[in-house]
Amino acid sequence: MAMADTIRPTAAAVLETRGPARPRNMGQIIRWLILFAGGVLMVMPIAYMISTSLKWPHEVYDVNLIPKEPTLENYTYVLEDGRFYLWFLNSIIIATITTASNLLFDSLVGYTLCKFRFPGRMIVFIAILSTLMIPTEMLVIPWYLMSQSFGWLDSYWGIMFPGLMTAFGTFLMKQFFESVPDDFIEAARIDGLNELQIWWTVAMPLVKPALAALAIFVFLGNWTAFLWPLIVTNSVEMYTIPVGLSGFGDEADVAWELIMTGAAISTIPTLVIFLIFQRFIIRGVVMAGLKG
């Protein structure tokens, strides 16, 4: 056959005919430069945080990134200070419970708003969304008055209650549940599952990427929350890490090296959370690509 007789050029021959590699075009170089600059901007604060945590107090205000006399003294000090462990534990408890609560309630409400038709559905949805427009600074006073009247001041419940469910999470989950075909829900209904079982068994596994993203957002948001925990807590024992760290130092001076050390240690759980959940996000993207 003619096709079989055709001699296919070898890879080497193809390379030869192509000649020397073309110089990279300017557009690509500019894109890389912008990406590099963006990367440096992202990494610099973290690098500076770690650098400062390795410096002696007298060197803190030097802008050099590499400490002249690196020391682990700050880590020893912070880790030997019993309060840090307490704040760390407080932050872990608060961020974990709040994250779990958001995953549960945001997805429940999001699912209900997405998959059920009932009078006033849009009004409820818009009412929830409208709370996104109110800045936290405006909410802290009513939150405080509420905490005071319920006796929640200086307690875990007081720190956690405003964030146990969020409008953003509800919106995010509602949008993701839109991508779950109604056929799945109806098939499960015919197979005899009740609505709660359908939500848990059928719908939730299909929105794992959204749940992972929500978990990361909520955990980080609560881990780094400062204003509300500062206002609602009075005793040092109830402080979270950001509030506790801000108290390092005295009225005359702020101990930046200790704050940075505490901050560096406190990034570890956030990295762990990200590493746990990011694979769900990536898998979600891959699954979406394969859907036939």
């Binding site: 075909p181 056929d183 098939a187 015919i190 596994p205 859907k291």
Partner: protein
């Protein structure tokens, strides 16, 4: 297995009425196909039977029990969806087992039932796979398996083959028919494809605009359509409709010939003739036209003729079809002629 009855079943969305009181009796073990164009109400009817849509009026009975207000799970039905609706996060086995979740069967019985269904559907080797590792036809078999495993009184199929390619569709069509012969459950199958309807059904329900146009066996709806719509919807290519006038037993075709018919009706009528029944040179001659287009199909060739009455389609020999530009006289046996009222489109008795 069970029989199914629809009595004056209607459905409205607000002011819009989409189903206008339909009546149907389905016998135990019958294979019924609902067919019609988009928006005719066939899927809505199926969803109402399944309990996924509220009933606006009328009654649905399964095995003598009115199920209007029963939850889908309590109706003893199973449904296969157009998009399969098999859960992507579960293996084939779990998908099939899902249908047994609310069953009281013991675990060994469930395992045996799953194995039996997998065997019937030739999926034993696929049980541990995820849906993303299956072809379209295999996914559809999983969806059927999930429906089968519960041995429901009535199977509902909502256009289950429309996402498959032509070859697979033909294969699955055959498989579903064989399956019905084997398990014998009552099946309600919705499709917009008249070939599917003709090849699979014991009886076909042809719907249009929320009304049933005709209920009958494939032979009945093909050879004796009740309306012009049925005549044109069933069969490919469509039935030719020629305007004519019937006076004292003589049919005068507009732009065509006059033929004698043993028919008492008078007035304007539509003469329906299937392209398969029109033959060049046959008696009595109905109309004459020039071949404008040919579609060779192998054994046959479809010829499109320009006639004084408009375009007429006929089926000619595949080996020696008329040439383009030829003038051909077309005739048909008298019992292949269908007369419809020109205004209502209803078949004349």
């Amino acid at each position: 297995m069970a029989d199914l009855t629809l009595k004056a079943l209607s459905k409205s969305y607000g002011e819009t009425k989409v189903l206008h009181g339909i009546d149907l009796d389905v016998a135990d073990g019958e294979f019924i196909v609902f067919v019609g164009p988009s928006g005719c109400g066939k899927s809505t009817t199926l969803r109402m039977i399944a309990g996924l849509e509220e009933v606006s009026g009328g009654e649905i009975s399964i095995d003598g029990r009115v199920v209007n207000h029963l939850e889908p799970k309590d109706r003893d039905i199973a449904m296969v969806f157009q998009n399969y609706a098999i859960y992507p996060h579960m293996s084939v086995k779990k998908n099939i087992a899902f249908g047994l979740r609310s069953s009281n069967m013991s675990k060994p019985d469930k395992e045996a039932r799953i194995a039996e269904v997998a065997g019937i559907l030739d999926m034993t080797d696929l049980l541990e796979r995820k849906p993303s590792q299956l072809s379209g036809g295999q996914r559809q078999r999983v969806a059927i398996g999930r429906a089968m495993v519960r041995d429901p009184a009535v199977f509902l199929f909502d256009e289950p083959l429309s996402n498959l390619d032509a070859q697979l569709r033909t294969q699955m069509r055959l498989e579903i028919k064989k399956l019905h012969q084997r398990v014998g459950n009552t099946i309600i199958f919705v499709t917009h494809d008249q070939v599917e309807a003709m090849t699979m059904a014991d009886r076909i329900v042809i719907m249009k605009d929320g009304h049933i146009q005709q209920i009958g066996t494939p032979d009945e709806v093909y050879h004796r359509p009740d309306t012009t719509f049925v005549g044109q919807f069933i069969g490919a290519p469509s039935m030719n409709m020629l305007a004519a006038e019937l006076t004292d037993g003589v049919l005068k075709i507009e732009g065509g010939t006059e033929i004698k018919l043993a028919h008492e009706a008078t007035g304007k009528v539509l003469l329906g003739v299937r392209p398969d029944d029109l033959r060049a040179g046959a008696e009595p001659v109905l109309i004459e036209g020039q071949v404008m287009l040919r579609e060779p199909l192998g054994p046959d060739t479809l010829i499109y003729l320009e006639t004084p009455a408009g375009e007429v389609i006929a089926r000619a020999s595949g080996r020696h079809p008329p040439q383009l530009g030829d003038v051909v006289s077309l005739g048909a046996d008298e019992d292949c002629l269908h007369l419809f009222d020109a205004t209502s489109g209803v078949r004349l008795p």
